[in-house]
């Protein structure tokens, strides 16, 4: 499959009050304990489908529960599901951090 990336735009609106004072970041840059709303995902179709099936899609809230050592694998919570995601995968997800 071609590595051509596609970007899914955010469909759900982000609460303007919560988003104030924060700028979009990649999920891979989020610190442990923070929460954010997913804006968009950039990946090949295979990965996008898997993201979508596990609940990682625009408009969803994610929480970074913890990060592993060295490579910083992420322990995430999305809806009723907890997952781990390598940092390289997390860099493909653009999020808007939520004020704590």
């Amino acid at each position: 499959m071609s590595p051509a990336a596609s970007v899914v735009p955010a469909t759900a609106g982000v609460d303007a009050d919560e988003a104030r004072d924060t700028a979009p970041l990649s999920l891979g840059q989020l610190a442990a304990g923070s929460r954010a709303t997913i804006l968009s995902l950039a990946a090949d179709r295979r990965l996008l489908q898997r993201f979508d099936a596990l609940g990682l899609r625009p408009g969803q809230q994610v929480e970074v529960l913890r990060r592993g050592w060295l490579s910083g694998i992420l322990h995430l919570r999305v809806g009723m599901t907890e997952l781990m995601l390598r940092r390289t995968g997390a860099l493909a997800i653009l999020v808007l951090p939520l004020a704590r």
Binding site: A53, G68, T81, M84
Partner: protein, 605 residues
């Protein structure tokens, strides 16, 4: 497994981690066979189910996330549905994760097949504060919806009634156009429909309700303590398996030995020595070799069941990921390689938890380098009888070190050839208590699976090696005149540079069958039954450098015939099994050559 005998056929489908296989086993009573389906590249579990009014053939399909997805399992399921008319499709969902699982139901509804929805783990959903209204789902989807718990066998009666009704239905094929439409379908539309369904039938909690998982993760995934705890758990488990498994294996061996000596030997006595030897030391010992693995496989899968079903295996993957990512592997491969230090065979069978073929093949390639307990026996004998006590510990330590290094080198070299196409995006399920019944069933199923798929290969191999040691008829076993003796001297140009003489080469031929019989083989070759006398005879003939080179070679070349047999049956590829054997032989030769010639160069020989 004859499909024509059953009057109806149903399949079980669901996402990974929905307890689908648990439900399958609970309904079919654990009599499932692992079978290959025509045209598919993966094994499916198939079981017959006798119901009032006829018999059903039940097929457990691999867990998938998306019917239109691009993974191997997703393609397998599409292929199966396209080729196999079904009376009913049982869709298994995790009741606490309906927020993301309903979209799969919507996809499946478009197939036009009769469906039943099983909301599994309903007990867990209640514990987490998720309220589901099955009636509302039933009305909205116009499908039968049942809340069940396969693990605690709740709601299975109602599900069985649905299966009985399926017997009356005609087999329904899936139109290729329906599958094609799903493959091209829009994800966001599905998500919107699923969100509306969720709103109508499910009440999610404000706060995630599983405090047990929170608290356990705090310690088990602790940045500093997580790894030491993990290693301690592994060591404990390992000790447990072998504290029980080694004596069990011993008793089984004694029992089989008794049967051979007391029953078969007198029975076969009237035959010419060659034929009685072939039947007793070839065929019967071959069967004994297969059986010797059964207790360890059983115990291993009990332990594996606890680690996997409790949710700890995916935590291990999280903890070890930093290291394993660089090797093209993940933490689950690490757990299995550690298990391989007990016995490689169940560790390779255990790679089935990995759904990515590349990841699985790479793991199968490195596990044989784990220094298993059978090799440990050979090394303990040689280090104690050939090396000074002060050197012995160091030699043992270096062998363990080389075992690790060989695995790492292999992973680095081959990770490009076996890339994992699945992203590392694993679920971390909540912690659960596995039930004893579940674990015993699974361990038993694995034992049967091993027996079924490998016995012919192993028995054939043991008989072949016996023939090599005893042909032409009339030679002293494993003597220079036998076929293996001839092989030993013929291979000298290749093996003399690594310090392995003709006698030791014959021992390596024995070792190809199983490392358990290397010492027995040496005893035959040197005609010394007593351990001390054998050690003395070896010391007379070989230098320490030669002994060390022999141990290195023994460590790295094929662990045993049973390992080759499971690599072949699990990879379903003879070429891959051949690659594993050839690569380990090559690596063994190179390492032994460097060490032996190095030792000679520095004058240590």
């Amino acid at each position: 497994m004859n499909a024509a005998q059953a009057s109806a056929r149903i399949a079980f489908l669901g996402m990974p981690n929905t307890g689908k296989s648990t439900l399958f086993n609970a309904l079919t009573g654990g009599h499932a066979q692992i079978g290959n389906w025509p045209g598919l590249t993966v094994d499916l579990m198939i079981a017959g189910l006798e119901l009032e009014g006829g018999s059903l053939q039940c097929v457990d399909l691999p867990g998938i996330y998306d019917l239109g997805g691009l993974s191997e399992d997703e393609a397998v399921v599409r292929r199966f549905l396209a080729d196999t008319p079904l009376q009913l499709l049982v869709v298994v969902l995790n009741a606490s994760q309906l927020d993301r699982q309903l979209r799969l139901v919507l996809q499946l509804r478009a197939l036009g097949l009769p469906l039943v929805l099983a909301l599994n783990m309903i007990d867990e959903a209640r514990r987490f504060g998720v309220t589901v209204d099955p009636q509302a789902l039933e009305t909205a989807l116009e499908l039968p919806v049942l809340a069940i718990s396969a693990k605690y066998r709740q709601g299975l009666g109602a599900l069985q009634q649905q299966l009985e009704r399926a017997l009356q239905l005609p087999a329904c094929p899936v139109r290729p156009s329906a599958l094609e439409a799903i493959r091209r379908g829009s994800g966001s539309e599905l998500n919107q429909q699923a969100a509306a369904l969720l709103q109508a039938a499910v009440l999610l909690p404000q706060q995630w309700g599983d405090r047990l998982t929170r608290r356990l993760d705090h310690w088990l995934l602790h940045p500093l303590l997580g790894l030491p705890i993990f290693l301690a758990v592994m060591a404990l488990m390992f000790q447990g398996i072998y504290a029980l498994g080694v004596p069990l294996q011993g008793w089984l061996g004694d029992l089989l030995g008794l049967v051979g000596d007391q029953l078969l030997k007198p029975l076969l006595a009237p035959l010419p020595p060659f034929w009685s030897g072939l039947l007793l030391n070839g065929l019967f010992d071959g069967i004994s070799t297969v059986m010797a693995f059964l207790p360890v496989i059983f115990l291993f899968f009990l332990a594996m069941g606890i680690v996997e079903d409790s949710g700890y295996l995916s935590r291990a993957a999280f903890l070890m990921d930093a290291l394993m990512e660089k090797l093209g592997l993940d933490g689950r491969s690490f757990v299995l390689s550690l298990m391989g230090f007990g016995c490689n065979v169940p560790a390779i069978l255990g790679t089935r938890v990995m759904r990515s073929r590349g990841l699985r093949m790479l793991s199968m390639l490195i596990i044989p380098f784990s220094l298993c307990s059978a090799r440990l026996n050979v090394f303990l004998f040689m280090t104690t009888h050939l090396f000074a006590p002060s050197q012995a510990a160091l030699v043992m330590f270096s062998l363990y070190l080389i075992s690790f290094l060989a695995a790492i080198t292999t992973a680095m070299l081959f990770k490009g050839s076996f890339p994992s196409r699945e992203p590392l995006l694993l679920e971390l399920p909540p912690y659960r208590f596995p039930t004893l019944r579940q674990m015993l069933k699974r361990a038993w199923a694995e034992v049967r699976h091993f027996w079924f798929w490998t016995r012919r290969f192993i028995i054939f191999g043991v008989v072949a090696v016996w023939l090599m040691n005893n042909l032409p008829i009339g030679v002293a076993p494993a003597s220079p005149d036998s076929l293996s003796g001839w092989l030993g001297s013929t291979l000298q140009p290749l093996l003399a540079p690594i310090g392995i003489n003709a006698h030791l080469t014959v021992a390596l031929v024995f070792g190809f069958v199983a490392k358990e019989i290397v010492l027995g083989g040496l005893a035959v070759i040197y005609a010394q039954a007593d351990a001390t006398a054998l050690g003395h005879a070896l010391r007379q003939e070989i230098t320490n450098a030669q002994a060390y080179s022999f141990m290195l070679f023994t460590l790295l070349y094929t662990p045993c015939l049973s390992t080759v047999a499971v690599i072949r049956s699990e990879s379903r590829s003879r070429r891959f099994a051949a690659l594993s054997v050839i690569w380990s032989l090559l690596l063994a030769w190179i390492v032994s050559f460097v060490c032996y010639q190095g030792a000679r160069f520095f004058g240590w020989a």
